[in-house]
């Protein structure tokens, strides 16, 4: 039989060896994973602009389509501009901003900045806004593109890491994102109302509000509500900027 001492030593050594193997693997693979994540981010942004990009052509398409990347402060002032591969204003490129940190700063009441991508589509400008929020089991994210009026949705795209497959994870489905087309984020008096993912369906909303709502996912209420919250939390950062542009 094995003594208690043996068991303790055995398990400690085992844990240390496993930890060493896993952490070195994570370090070696990190650069590859980060590149994949950056490409996925680009694909998401392009998807909101209704452009489907493959892993290979994503970066070159992004350079073609995106006219300008702006860094926008919480009061709506532009503090950074990046266009045609060059930083023309400010210190940081919008693409490199960490949305998670910025949204955390917002929650803490500290100053924060958010990225905005301006692209050209169908002869007009579109404004692409990245989204990030908290789902039921993990992060949810996406991009939403607004038409030149900075009010009507041009396209949207959502993704998730850990939502329940078949229920909450359905937000990543194209059909869910397509519901957002032509919805508006400001009401007729010019007040910011965001877009609500409505449990029970848009049909249960007052007729005047239906232009600001989409159907929720059956069986995915918490994730659906999380999408509502995410859109509201992220779009509201741009209201001051949009007002200043009118």
């Amino acid at each position: 039989m094995f003594s208690n001492r043996y068991i303790f030593i055995y398990s400690s050594v085992m844990v240390i060896i496993v930890a060493a193997i896993l952490s070195s693997a994570a370090m070696i693979l990190k650069p590859y994973q980060e590149r994949n994540i950056a490409i996925a981010k680009i694909q998401g942004i392009l998807m909101a602009a209704e452009i489907e990009a493959s892993t290979e052509n994503a970066e070159s398409l992004f350079d073609q389509v995106i006219l300008e990347e702006l860094v926008i402060r919480q009061d709506g002032k532009v503090t950074g501009r990046f266009s045609k591969g060059q930083l023309t204003d400010g210190k940081d490129r919008a693409f490199d901003l960490n949305l998670k940190t910025e949204l955390y700063n917002k929650k803490q009441g500290k100053p924060y900045r958010v990225p905005l991508y301006i692209a050209e589509a169908n002869g007009g400008k579109i404004y692409i806004i990245p989204l990030l929020g908290k789902g039921l089991w993990g992060p949810i994210y996406g991009n939403i593109a607004l038409k030149e009026d900075m009010n009507t949705v041009f396209g949207a795209e959502f993704g998730n890491d850990k939502e329940t497959p078949g229920l909450g994870a359905e937000i990543s489905d194209r059909a869910f994102a397509l519901q957002f087309l032509d919805k508006t984020i400001f009401n007729e008096t010019g007040k910011f109302v965001s877009i609500t993912v409505k449990k029970g369906g848009v049909g249960t909303m007052p007729a005047a509000d239906r232009i600001h709502g989409v159907d929720a996912i059956s069986g995915g209420t918490i994730t659906s509500d999380a999408v509502t919250k995410m859109i509201d939390n992220c779009l509201s950062n741009y209201v001051a900027y949009f007002k200043s542009q009118e």
Binding site: Y6, Y10, S11, V18, I21, L22, Y32, Q33, A40, A169
Partner: protein
Amino acid sequence: MLHILKARNKMSSEKTEREPLFSLKNRKLITAPLGRDNPITVQVLGICSALAVTAKLEPAFVMAISVMAVMGIGNVVISALRNTIPPRIRIIVQLVVIAALVILVDQVLKAFAYEVSKQLSVFVGLIITNCIIMGRFEAFAMANKVWPSFLDGIGNAWGYGWILIVVAFFRELLGSGTLWGYQVVPNAWYIDNGGFYANNGMMILPPMALITVGVIIWVQRYRTKELIEEN
């Protein structure tokens, strides 16, 4: 506990004489799980992931390869350590080995097959709870030498994998009209283009995976009468 240990010692002492790498017994380790001892159709294990990742051929294939890596390497590790593992914590040791291997597989997929890893999402992590793996560690690798254990792991993973691939083949073909992402049903056949054909949306949903597995079990039992229980 003691009699298990004794039985184990007896087993390992019986096999002292050297046998060829691919002896009849060793070949059986690979072939039995493909048919008569199949983990999915006969033992009905690992059904959860079999339902979830088989809507398309590519994720099913990657899942099969991932399980094969975890099971082949895991069986070897457990078998190599089998005489040092204290029986009282053997389940913990097995779980640590599985968990470590699954995390490695997940990281590698994220680095080199990002799209597929996104499609597999939580199911790569759920390989940890795939009962086939711990079942093989406990039932085979803990009591056998390294080489037979490796064959047993590969055999069982392939027994799991081929069912996944067959199910995915039919689900993707009938549900999406594609195979490995390539269109196989001619576009002109579709009703939208003036044809007569429509994809069966139900094939995409998990219930049809269960029914497809059921059909495979049916065919297998029809062909192998010994599998049919009496009464």
